[in-house]
Symmetry: C2
Subunit: 192 residues, 2 copies
Amino acid sequence: MTPAHFTPVPLNRSYRLLNHGPVVLVSAAHGGVTNVMAAAWSTALDFDPPKVTVVIDKTTLTRSLVEASGAFALNIPCRAMAAQILGVGTDSAKMVPDKLARHGVSTFQVEHRGVPLARGCVGWLQCRVISEPRNQQTYDLFIGEVVAAWADSRVFSDGRWHFENAPDDLRTLHYVAGGQFYVTGESLQVGE
Amino acid sequence: MTPAHFTPVPLNRSYRLLNHGPVVLVSAAHGGVTNVMAAAWSTALDFDPPKVTVVIDKTTLTRSLVEASGAFALNIPCRAMAAQILGVGTDSAKMVPDKLARHGVSTFQVEHRGVPLARGCVGWLQCRVISEPRNQQTYDLFIGEVVAAWADSRVFSDGRWHFENAPDDLRTLHYVAGGQFYVTGESLQVGE
């Protein structure tokens, strides 16, 4: 079952989920194995068709699932999930096979063939890998085309984030290092 | 003259300037021409040696300066500069030759051969282009190796941001769209 408030985002607005530079959870699945890891190094790459980049280290289980399946999802977690983000970003499923359960991260699937998405997040971008072997090998850099997107309608509607109308626990996060995050702060409108 | 509080950041800590996903100003110079543009699509790519990525559209003057010189700088602006960011991100120097003056953006140079840096910012990453013609042509995606980094010591010291100890005008920004930014908010420490 999809979460409450889970709402489609038009593809040509999906870059706005990622544009402010939040930390993301990368999810992927192959052969019955699902994993989720944290990534700070992810950004939009194009508007329409929307594309994204994300750095996925060769040592991670997620990397092998992405390469085998040709797909991943970027899940945008919220403040309430800070400890979970750090947990799935620190532990490797290669060393801690039950890391998702241990850190309370569960997934759901929208379509039969879709990548599992992380519960509790406030934005989701389902992506197919655009194969660029040199980037992947040399830089651990993956390019994805966004093929579907959703958001929690309490904080994202009409193509914009609206954190000011919801509990602070639903704000997105920006990762620095050593367990330190910054919460997405106040909105500032210039011009118009 | 370099700005007050302009302080070197060790290269192996320089990724932390960018890790939380702030909007940046991209500066570049060639043949006596200097330009500065805004970019939301920039991220760290590696720790050591530090690398970054940034998307620079083919239509921009900055793009031609980066390609001709093989260098650029990522300047991390602060809240006080929101109108300037929008200005140099909206106007093209190809159409508005005096756009820097018009938006009150001035630059300074640290070394004789260095890329000019934007005044008023709180972090600076000087980069040399790692030539990847396919990425540049196909995706407008540039990879740079960080060769020097500095920060405003009022908000970045000992390898970390410390926005809580300084005026809110020195906080970094995250861009969404249509002139809307989010200010980098409160710090959240998990674990340790």
